[in-house]
Assembly symmetry: C2
Homo-oligomer: 227 residues x 2
């Protein structure tokens, strides 16, 4: 069973920032991409490492944690296929402040800074795609920063659920990709509160809890209206 393994060319096509490239440019990119498969539970990179490369998830899933000053870890991103991290490394050597761990067997494409900079001079179109992707990410983060100071916990959880459920058929049961403890940390709250809010939502008829970490969103519209 290795359906999730892909050739280099396919790998690159999965990444949004490379979507707009011509065939020729795609080949140029292929030439400088390195591939690696990480087993479940292994570390993609560590805090304190010097970062010299862009890391792209071709297939699989990884969690990125930031270490807070008090030693606590804050989940920063849940990287899915096509997501990337470490873009700052493409311009300057930086020390990573976060670390990442593979949740499942995960195939990663990486690009070295020096290779990337050389390529950029030849394929300006590439820069546009990346800039575009960065712009999106900034909007997203601005939204998060706003919503965190603006909405209540209930609202943030509701948003998270609607967003997560979006990748599954409507009204069907699915397994939450994160444990409640992790969702809690991600939203800046506690597992207890997550538990209680999910109950409230179920009583309101907006969702249905199943076995283990399964839920079905019944009324995404009402959920989204929370706060």
């Amino acid at each position: 069973m290795q359906e999730h393994k892909l050739g280099t060319h396919d790998c690159i096509q999965l990444v949004p920032i490379f979507n707009q490239l011509t065939t020729v440019e795609l080949q140029q990119v292929s030439a400088i991409v390195h591939e690696h498969v990480y087993e479940k539970g292994t570390t993609l990179f560590n805090a304190g490492d010097e970062a010299n490369q862009l890391t792209i998830i071709a297939a699989g899933q990884a969690k990125v944690y930031q270490l807070a000053t008090n030693g606590r870890e804050q989940l920063l991103y849940l990287l899915q296929s096509g997501d990337f991290d470490g873009e700052a490394a493409l311009f300057n050597p930086v020390t990573r402040t976060s670390y990442a761990e593979a949740l499942v067997p995960t195939q990663v494409c990486s690009i070295q800074r020096s290779d990337f900079q050389a390529l950029l001079a030849e394929a300006p179109q590439l820069a546009l795609g990346i800039l575009n992707e960065f712009g999106k990410r900034i909007s997203q983060l601005e939204g998060k920063a706003t919503s965190v100071t603006t909405s209540s916990i209930g609202g943030r959880l509701a948003d998270y659920l609607v967003e997560t459920a979006a990748s599954f058929p409507a009204q069907t049961m699915f397994t939450l990709p994160l444990q409640k403890k992790e969702i809690a940390v991600y939203l800046g709250t506690t597992p207890e509160t997550i538990s209680r809010k999910l109950n409230e939502f179920q009583i309101a008829g907006w969702l249905k809890k199943g076995h283990g970490n399964q839920i079905a969103v019944l009324d995404a519209d009402q959920l989204a209206l929370q706060d």
Copy 2:
């Protein structure tokens, strides 16, 4: 008195993303930059506008507000000389979700999307500089998103004060650039709480309140240690 007015060339040199350009490239950029001066209290752009340009503050100061779903306004940025906004517009036509107002007479440089894209193809070095700046902004926003879910109000206020005080000589009185009401909204709290926390900080000996909106930070190190 027009010391704050600058020629186009000077204007561009103020902007970090253009810092690394060669003289030739700077001239190319100069050619496509439009300048405009907004009087105090006038609107730079409005929510709902279609954005087709990058807006750079050459001299002056502007507030950028985001409208929340409940109709409340959330202060997003306080733009100073050299800051820019609307970078998403450089890649796709977008509708603005925020609006900006000049706090003082403010000189603005703007670049149209079409001009920018044409330029980018000729000056790849420019893309690198912008990408770099974007990377920094993303780190900054990641930090803010983390600190908001992690620290208490006191900690966030302390950070804000230390940051704001940094542009004044140490331990001297200065006037806060925002009203307390606005600081409150910015930090996601209320004027009452700001008032109380400032008292606590004064009693602890970390700052001194003066007349009106003046304060002096006495012990930035202790403040920064808050939470």
